[in-house]
Amino acid sequence: MTVLLLVALAVVFAFLAIRARRLITSALWLAGVSALCALVFSLYGARQVAVIELSVGAGLVTVLFVFAISVAGDEPLAGRPVLPRPLSAGLVLLWMLVLGGMLLPGLPIPPAVPPDRAGLAEVLWGPRGLDALLQVVVIFAGVLGLLGLLAESGAPLDGAVAREVAAGRERDLQALTEQLQDGEAVPE
């Protein structure tokens, strides 16, 4: 019953995150979805993933969203979406009904299986060791990509623009030198 309640709340929060007009509200609802999912994972016995989801999904990603929204602004967009909203909602509802109708009636209720004794670390570094190494590569690639994207990329000046900027600097320097030679007070 608790799991059902939490899952239902997570789905409601997810729809609220999608429907929210302001981005910051959307990010906060998304953090709620992550926190509820972490609780559900914990109830399913996946406690380590629950902790990771709580810290990464509800913590790190939310902070990143808030940072991005503070930089990019939070103005609601005027105009209509690419697809009309009723059409999108109808399509998604139809898809959900079809998927639910196909999956749920024939879903076998498996007998209770005792959990295996292997821990996450044993599986992650044992049979799935290659995956773990690839994850490290993906993390490094992501960090490098992020640094490249967020770098203040001032395009190198060349051609006429570069000459104009250099001439301007030269003029300023010349004027400053003349002022110093004349003994005038240098403006701050």
């Binding site: 995150a17 990010a27 990464v56 990019a72």
Partner: protein, 103 residues
């Protein structure tokens, strides 16, 4: 009527995937689309963890979920960074406007 844990998880997966797909279809803001992707991935995570738990292979489900969380976080970070750069350079996050860009 009581639902089995797997049925509850399947319902949750369908709901979360539905919310995510709706966000992808109806969303125009680039950052909102990243939010929709995040919701989609939460559905996938729920499915993985529930399947592992029901089959008695919690650790396998957890290890798969960790992989998905890593990939999803990288996708979110890159999407957010792209959004910030696009906002700085183009001045909008509207995908309808961005699709008109040429060159």
């Amino acid at each position: 009527m009581s639902l089995a844990p797997l049925q509850i998880a399947v319902l949750g997966v369908i709901g979360l995937l539905g919310a995510g797909f709706y966000g992808l279809l109806a969303g125009r803001n680039l950052i909102k689309i990243v939010v929709a992707l995040q919701v989609l991935v939460k559905g996938a995570l729920l499915g993985l963890v529930a399947a592992g738990s029901v089959k008695g292979q919690v650790a396998l489900g957890e290890s798969l979920a960790v992989t998905v969380i890593v990939a999803d976080t990288i996708v979110a970070v890159m999407g957010i960074a792209l959004g910030v750069q696009i906002r700085r350079r183009v001045g909008t996050l509207d995908v309808k406007e961005l699709s008109k860009l040429r060159g």
